[in-house]
């Protein structure tokens, strides 16, 4: 039974490290990216079970990343949690309707609560047979990649 795989994306390396530390100790496999482009590059080769991304990042923002994820058939149904220090400027309802973002977590956040939220989201999914993140998602990689 493989460990669930999480893709963490944040340009604040300290936050990335804290979340990575928490999820790894909980038995998750964690992939990290420091901006949207880097995360998208990872998604061309790996298929995580959940993406947790910051909103404001250089090169490609969190919303830009999610838009690409939704446009690509291989990643369109990937669950996403968005972290944001902006909070009140983004409506969770709008994010859900327009981008299919499951949850909006406002910074500062609790790693424990973030882990609990991720576990809740991943619970219904039956565990995959193979360990680790599933194979490349690039079979249906979009031209925009």
């Amino acid at each position: 039974m493989r460990s669930p795989c999480i893709l963490l994306c944040d340009d604040e390396l300290h936050i990335l490290r804290a979340a990575q530390f928490k999820f790894q100790r909980a038995g998750y496999e964690v992939l990290t990216a420091s901006d949207g482009e880097e995360a998208w590059a990872i998604l061309q080769t790996r298929r995580p079970d959940l993406v947790i991304t910051d909103c404001q990042m250089p090169r490609l923002s969190g919303l830009g990343l999610v838009a690409r994820i939704r446009q690509c058939p291989a990643t369109a149904d990937l669950p996403v949690i968005m972290l944001s220090a902006k909070g009140f400027e983004l409506s969770a309802e709008q994010l859900h309707q327009r981008y299919g973002i499951a949850h909006l977590v406002a910074k500062p956040f609790s790693p424990r609560e973030l882990l609990a939220l991720a576990e809740e989201m991943l619970q219904p999914q039956p565990p995959a047979a193979a360990a680790g993140c599933s194979g490349p998602a690039s079979e249906h990689a979009p031209a925009t990649g």
Binding site: D11, E12, L13, H14, I15, R17, A18, A19, F21, K22, R25, S34, Q56, M57, P58, R59, S61, A85, K86, G87, F88, E89, A106, K107, P108, F109, S110, P111, R112
Partner: protein
């Protein structure tokens, strides 16, 4: 009436006395002639009678003229004297005439005095009314001028929905023709339904309450302006602090105040609060996350605990710097900052700034190096402020330089000035951005997603350098190549290092 009848009787008696005398003589003569039965004598008597009658009539008429002239001379002053003169006037009538005319003259004097006083009162009232009229006309001209000079459009309508007043600003904004004699219907205003609706409603309202609304209007140049519309009925007056109805609605007045600037400030303030909030939440997120990991015993080994504590420490310092930036900028702008100037070494200060910024630079894989002058570069300055300025410049360079880039801090002597230079290999600035990059809240649009920020850091640096230390700051940059920020400060003294 009795008085006048008496005077007429006297006049008649005096003037006709010669006639009576002549007639009496004629009668006597004719009686003698009849007694004498003498025809030639009767004829002579008739002639004599006619002659005497004529003489009597002439004398009587002359006497009447003399009397009338005397009376006229005596009464002439009545028509020329003022009230004071009339009060002290005494009629000077000729002896026998005066006795009869004295009461009439005195009665005339009283009447004339009364009329004169009344005329004087009326004249005073007329003069006062004229003064009031002139004052009102001046006030009206003044109000017209004020209304014409008002930048805020003002519009008034009567109870029938006719525009009775529109100052030039209102005419220009609402596309109304220049002032004409014929009134315009309110419905002529096509650009703003809200204004028409509120004015119509207010002109019918019986409660003197003011109503406001905010609306956007596009001017002739196609620019959109925001206005606050205040509308109130005109038929009510405020007396003794309570609304008193006069005669029901007479119309309504609307004043449009341009609040485009306020709206922009509100938007900028909201963006600023959002940016500051974001800036504060980012280090706070790290502090909270690592503190929670430590408290919940997630860090098993001492090295991990040490690492987490270091992160908390560095992020707390980052938060402190942000708060210092905010407070110092506010203090400098308010002129209440306490400046503690003392001689200090610019090189020592820069070394400290580089050491503070080394961890974030390393975290972002940016090579932060220093190339400091071997000379002692003395500056008379506030150490904390100059350190903050140097850290802000380096922090800015690190923020906008991609991973793998280079940030170099230099110092040198140039004539009588010491120069601090921060060069990066970052994204660079356009010439327009170079002009505006020191403005408060200004952030380069294309780089906003690259790094969070409040647009305060460089504004504060400029204030510290120019306003507090009498120096200057400049930037040279090329898009995609990087930027060089230079601070020039008056040198204290130069000694061999």
């Amino acid at each position: 009436m009795t008085l006048f009848a008496g005077h007429a009787k006297t006049l008649t008696r005096r003037a006709l006395w010669p006639v009576f005398l002549g007639s009496f003589a004629v009668g006597t003569w004719m009686l003698l002639a009849l007694l004498l039965q003498d025809v030639p004598g009767r004829a002579l008597a008739s002639l004599a009678a006619m002659g005497l009658a004529t003489i009597g009539y002439t004398v009587g008429r002359w006497q009447a003229r003399v009397n009338a002239a005397a009376i006229q001379r005596a009464l002439v002053p009545l028509s020329t004297l003022d009230a004071c003169g009339l009060a002290s006037w005494t009629p000077e009538l000729p002896g026998d005439v005066g006795a009869g005319w004295q009461p009439l003259a005195l009665a005339l004097q009283q009447r004339m005095l009364e009329l004169t006083r009344r005329a004087e009162t009326l004249e005073m009232q007329r003069a006062a009314a004229e003064v009031r009229l002139r004052r009102l006309a001046a006030q009206r001209d003044q109000l017209d001028e004020i209304l014409a000079g008002l930048g805020d459009p003002v519009l008034a309508v009567d109870a029938f929905g006719q525009i009775v007043l529109a100052n030039p600003s209102a005419r220009k904004l609402l596309g109304l023709p220049a002032a004409t004699d014929s009134p315009l219907a309110l419905e002529r205003i096509e650009r703003c339904e809200t204004l028409v609706g509120m004015l119509s409603e207010a002109s019918r309202r019986r409660v003197p309450a003011q109503r406001t609304a905010e609306l956007a209007l596009t001017d002739e140049e196609g620019r959109t302006h925001w206005y606050r519309l205040c509308c109130r009925p005109l038929a009510f007056s405020q007396e003794g602090g309570q609304a008193a109805e006069r005669e029901g609605p007479h119309g309504a007045v609307a004043v449009l105040t341009d609040i485009t600037g306020q709206k922009a400030i509100q938007k900028r303030n909201a963006e600023f609060v959002s940016a500051v909030s974001h800036e504060m939440k980012t280090p706070l997120s790290s502090i909270r996350a690592y503190a929670e990991l430590l408290v919940e015993g997630e860090a098993d080994d001492a090295a991990t605990r040490e690492e987490f504590l270091q992160v908390i420490h560095s992020q707390a310092e980052r938060l402190q710097r942000l708060i210092d930036n905010l407070l110092n900028l506010a203090r400098i702008e308010a002129g209440v900052v306490a400046v503690n100037k003392a001689p200090l070494s610019l090189n020592d200060l820069l070394a400290e700034a580089v050491s503070v910024m080394q961890p974030p630079a390393e975290q972002k894989q940016i090579a932060l190096t220093s190339d400091l002058s071997p000379l002692y570069l003395g500056v008379l300055g506030d150490r904390d402020m100059l350190l903050q300025a140097a850290i802000n410049l380096i922090s800015n360079a690190v923020k906008y330089t991609p991973a793998g880039g280079q940030v170099t801090v230099r110092s040198r002597l140039s004539d009588e000035e010491v120069v601090l230079e921060v060069q990066d290999t970052g994204v660079g600035l356009s010439p327009e951005d170079c002009q505006r990059v020191f403005e408060k809240f200004y952030r380069v649009k294309k780089d906003r997603d690259m790094a969070p920020g409040t647009g305060l850091g460089l504004a504060l640096v400029k204030h510290i350098v120019e306003d507090v230390h009498g120096g200057r700051i400049e930037v040279s940059s090329q898009l995609g190549q990087g930027s060089i920020f230079r601070i020039f400060l008056p040198g204290l003294r130069q000694l061999g290092g």
